[in-house]
């Protein structure tokens, strides 16, 4: 009997013993803040989060909503945006939550990084560790401020505008780490304040980062400098990139849509861009197809390469097994001049019955047109051409052109035998800096004025650019332009051609206040094939339904109702 009582009690007590432990979760690799700050690698991870969020693929979201291209995907939200669906309640190109989330991480990083030990290698002496610790912190400070400025720039470009109250506003500047218990009811700062804030961040970055990530030759402290800010940090933000970003932001602020109260003039923009351009020297000869290499003089900041074929899968013509998504427009094709440097409307060598002969060499690099070759396959886009013909299949072009820029011809998409190739996403490059300076200098001082003595003028830079592009020398058309207005039109066009499909066009026509261009319908080339003789008809295929206030983007509606955040006019 007693045995059974004991047995029963033993079993019952099994239920009660260490019940606390029973209900604890298993040990896992989730870290508390203490554990995070104990390791420099984990702490740096907060900054790395803001890096991993950077784009890695070209989807041409804003390009298919501009007059440069259309998307052949009826479900594309960017196509829908362009034909009248751009609203504060539905903004597929909104950067608001994306940028603020990453600023949140960078602010957290900045609030904790000072007290973390960045160098504690037992193989080095204590003094060396202290030195490296200081050098690491300097670089990390520069990177954090630089990256934060990048995200602030996205907010500035996509969301600033003239508010309902009539003021030119930017976004709420958040420079500290906020928690839900802090006061996060912050109003939008003025545009000028935002620009000043971005400049301040970039100045810190420029002061603390090396211009480029290179290894110095051995000797003295160079070994430690290399270990803390040498070539091993390529693909991260550096001094030159920060300065190039500053030039980009300055150009935006000096543009007609913003200059009224931005506090930045064309002259200031030129003065920011000029020294860096002088420092970088001449253009890279193969810069037209800079994306074919993982690194070169043209690229100031790009991401590490990845072996993939997504870009080609999305944009190759159907006969090469692609989806043919991004279709360059006739509007863009018409912007490419002739090889002799003249625009097609002016040039004597333009033949409307053979529109693709003797064009600007960049046209052949960037656009696939009727009868051109891609991967040794002839792509025919005339009406009723099998597979690739205009509107032939759901994946065929709608404009008569396919995209060639950024596509790697070594990629194979054949099902069952696909081949990847290395792709790098470029964030900042030298040609953009050149065009930024040329535009600013031309507006500030005129085509041939080297006010600050950099050794080049707006006109000379454009000459270099066109020479690299392969325009026949001497460049008579450029020579014929002597006034700022004429050069402005040429600079705008060169910018459109050089930087096509890099996300600039959509916002460029807006900062230039070009409402008509913003609202211009997109044209396509309908080519009829008569036994090898092609005849061309151009007609509108897609409208661009933007109201005049859509020079500026909207603040997300959901943010304006959380607390009284002012919305932009007309939205």
């Amino acid at each position: 009997m007693r045995r059974y009582i004991i047995l029963f009690l033993v079993i019952l007590s099994i239920n009660l013993v260490s019940c606390e432990d029973l209900i604890n979760p298993k040990e896992d690799n989730v870290l508390s803040e203490e554990q995070l700050l104990f390791s420099s690698i984990y702490t740096e991870g907060l900054l790395m989060k803001a890096y991993t969020a950077l784009p890695n693929d070209y989807y041409f979201e804003t390009d298919v909503a501009s007059d440069d291209a259309v998307s052949n995907d009826p479900a594309s939200v960017y196509r829908s945006l362009a034909v009248g669906n751009w609203k504060a309640t539905n903004n597929p190109i909104s950067q608001w939550s994306y940028a603020y989330e990453n600023i949140f991480y960078i602010n957290k990083f900045l609030s904790v990084y000072e007290n973390v030990i960045w160098s504690s290698d037992p193989n080095l002496t204590a003094e060396v560790n202290v030195l490296r610790n200081t050098l690491h912190k300097k670089r990390l400070k520069g990177e954090a401020y630089g990256l934060r400025a990048y995200y602030k720039w996205l907010l500035l470009q996509y969301h600033s505008g003239v508010s309902k109250g009539g003021q030119l506003l930017g976004f709420p500047i958040i420079d500290q780490y906020l928690t839900p218990d802090d006061n996060w009811v912050l109003p939008r700062n003025t545009f000028a304040q935002c620009v000043a804030s971005i400049f301040a961040d970039l100045d810190v970055a420029i002061a603390n980062l090396p211009k480029q990530w290179v290894d110095l030759p051995a000797g003295g402290n160079n070994g430690h400098i290399n270990a803390t800010s040498g070539a091993r940090f390529n693909n991260r933000i550096n001094g030159n990139t920060a300065l190039a970003l500053k030039a980009r932001v300055a150009l935006l602020a000096a543009s007609p849509a913003f200059s009224a109260s931005s506090g930045v003039t064309w002259e200031q923009a030129a003065t920011i861009a000029g020294p860096l351009l002088k420092d970088l020297g001449s253009l890279y000869a193969k810069g037209r197809v800079f994306y074919a290499e993982k690194s070169n003089k043209e690229i100031l900041w790009n991401r590490s390469e990845l072996q993939k074929r997504t870009w080609e899968q999305n944009n190759f013509p159907p006969s090469l097994y692609g989806y043919g998504r991004t279709n360059p427009s006739q509007n863009l094709v018409d912007a490419f001049g002739m090889k002799d440097g003249y625009p097609i409307a002016v040039s004597g060598s333009y033949d409307p019955t053979k529109p693709y002969t003797d064009r600007d060499p960049r046209f052949y690099d960037y656009i696939v047109y009727n009868t051109s070759k891609l991967k040794t396959v002839v792509i025919n886009t005339y009406i009723d051409a099998p597979s690739n013909g205009i509107n032939e299949l759901l994946t065929s072009t709608r404009t008569g052109y396919y995209l060639k820029k950024f596509m790697s011809e070594s990629v194979k998409l054949d099902p069952g035998s696909s081949v990847n190739s290395a792709h790098n996403y470029t964030l900042v490059r030298m040609t953009e800096l050149l065009l930024n300076y040329a535009e600013a200098a031309n507006e500030a001082w005129g085509p041939a004025d080297d006010r600050n003595g950099y050794g080049f003028t707006a006109k000379s830079l454009i000459a270099d650019l066109r020479k690299r592009a392969g325009i026949g020398q001497p460049d008579a058309y450029l020579e014929s332009i002597t006034d700022a207005a004429g050069l402005r039109a040429l600079i705008h066009n060169e910018r459109r051609i050089e930087l096509c499909f890099e996300g600039f066009r959509f916002w460029d026509i807006r900062r230039w206040n070009e409402v008509n261009t913003m609202q211009a319908p997109v044209k396509a080339a309908f080519i009829t094939d008569n036994a090898g003789i092609y005849s061309y008809t151009y007609s509108n295929i897609e409208e661009r339904k933007f109201d005049a206030n859509m020079i500026y983007g909207p603040i997300p509606y959901s943010e304006t109702v959380k607390y009284n955040l002012e919305q932009n006019q007309g939205w």
Binding site: I14, N15, L22, D28, N29, S32, K49, L178
Partner: protein, 823 residues
Amino acid sequence: MVDGVPRSGLDYNVQMIEQISVQKDLLTSILYGGQAKNGLIYITTKRGEPLKKTLNFTLTSGVNKAIRYPEFLSSSNYMTLYNEALANDGLSAKYLQADIDATASGQDPVRYPDEDYYNSTYLKNFSSYFNFVGEAGGGNEVAQYYLNVGWNRNTSFLKIGEGGNEKNDRLNVRGNVDYRLNDVIKIRFDAAVIFNILNQPRYTTAGTDFWTLSSTLYPNSAPVLIPVSLMKDETLLGAAKLIDNKYILGGTSEYQTNIYGELTKNGPTQINNRLLEMNVGLDFNLNSIVKGLTASVFFTYDLQNVFRTDIMNSYAVYTPVYVADTISSWKKPGVDVKVNTQTLSDISFSRRNGLYGKADYHILSGDHEITLNALGYFDQYALEGVLQPLKHLNFGIRANYNYMNRYIAELTGVVSGSVKLAETKKWAISPGLGLAWVVSEESFLNGNPPIDYLKLRTNLALTQNDEGLPLYFPGHDIYTASTSYPYNYGAGSNASYIISLGNPNLGFEKRLNYTLGFDGILLNNKMTIEGSYFFYKTYDVITRRINSLPTYFGSYYYENYGSYRNQGIELGLGYTESVGDVVVRLGGNFVYSLPKMLAVDELNYKDAYRKATGKPTDAMFGFIALGLFSDQTEINNSVPQTFGTVKPGDIKYEDLNGDAVIDDLDQKMIGNSHARAEYSLNLSLKYKSFEFFALTTGQAGQDTYFNNSYYWIYGNRKYSETVLNRWTPATASTATYPRLTTLSNDNNFRNSTYWLYKNNWFTLQTVQLTYSLPGMIAGMKEARVFVRGNNLLTISKIKDKSELNIGTAPQTRFYSLGISIML
């Protein structure tokens, strides 16, 4: 809950169940912790009875008949209407009239295909069902046993190739043994093994099957079968894999999927699901220590393994290339592959183990009766690949006091631990109180003929549970690794770390339950009646206030914020009467409920009608549709709609807030997605050896959208017969569908009253006729033969839509015949 262990009830056949009770009595269910917050279905399985040998067999065989299939347009209709859609969008026509006419004539189905998949080439008239169960039980006073073996098979409607072999087999074997060790201890052992094997065709693209393909493949894209006589190319012919020696598969590089090929040449798939359940327990009869005290302890172990095998064959399709009117060459997208090996994938394991202890004390002394129950259990569910197992730990006590079988009071208290919450918030107490008054025992009612039994009851309970917590919340900020950022051209890479903001105050979700009701037996035990009013309020629901906090920390910060409530009434009636030799039994149930949302994370809209707070929890928000625009003048005179360019034939919406623009703010509650009233009626007639049973169910108060790819047709969707009523300038006054389009048309295809229907229905759910044969063969105690029909009839205004399944196997009526033998 099966025999005291939480399990899925889906793996059991009816024969192995001794009793099912639905415990809405909160005070019992909360003893089992937070998992039982919505009530408990308690299943007791059969065990052997001493000195009672049983041996039963039941065989059932039945057929399913599809109620209806989708109707898609023929090729020529589709081509004509697609051209109309292109014209509406301002684009040029895609199909030449000559081609449309050639398709309509049907003279050359290879060049101008017109494929339909809902016919006898692909589908059988019936799918079949077969079920066999055998059980045996018995034993003596010391040991008892029970064994149940069952096999269940379902086939599908597909006819050809692997589709014809499509079937689902379930085998289960369950046994239990009770052994009385001595007067105090009894050992119980249960084991069950359940195998579920699904055989189906292997489809090339994951997520597709015959039903999805038949609702997306166009009728005119390619012929399914091409007669082999058309192929003159000897080399291609030699390499081709023929169907029935007469056909080759048709397709193009853009439309490479051929349903005939998917079903016959793509190989089979088999999905295996194996479950093992085991209980070992000890029951203690402790009357010798304390009179009225019993206890039991048991340990459970369940193991489940699921995996999939495929034979990854593939097929090539052929595209004839026409020059003038003859086939000049062939294209051959795809390859014919026949593989001999199986590919294993989708493997998962899971395991559950638990430890339960129970002690019961019961004492009856004169008019006083006291029952005490104490329950403690711990269980843990681990899924392979998931680091943290789900754990539950509960201790509960219930005390029940009954005075004279007339006044009853009950008190329960449960302490639960949560594995997901921070140290300081880990434990929670859920109390409950219940009172009952058996009014019929009172002198003023006792002996009163109409009322044989009447009990009034009420209970109030607060349950705390952590079932809704999606993650683990240790109460402080936590960081986990995310992806890496590669730099230095791939030579370096550092992981990025993500924060999850901690809330030290985060605790259990709570639910307050209150019921008030009565149970009665009237009219000399002929009528039973029960009714109750219920109210429950769930609050402190874990929410992320994404719409109130700035975006960057809204998605990381969890709080106890949400709340909602539901209240309603339930009624049940039963009536039994004998009319001569016939025993008639009628029964009915009715539930009416009204849910309401009290606090939910949403945008701070200015207009009350737009907010979900204060509305029913299942509110459906949409636009008020005023009809279709008849012409451009009407569009010009109406409020601008901001969902894209609007043309005649598009849906016109109402401006609810008067701001002269139709946008996202002009939505209000236009319906609710759950039924408000649900009811059922059953009738049972017994005459000598015949028994007839019928069950009907119904509901009212539910609204539903018909907005899947069959009804919302735009872009590249397959055209169904709903578009025949589309708007054209000629049919403007009678059109019931907007103008056709090949774009995505955000204006028309959004939730609004245009697509909303009331889903009230009444169904004849089950009808069964049973005949009991007396024992005819020696040893056979009884035999029963039955005929049954399920889902025989539905009365509903929208049944042509609600009975239609798109993209999945059809809804069916089920007819079966069975025999049950007890030896």
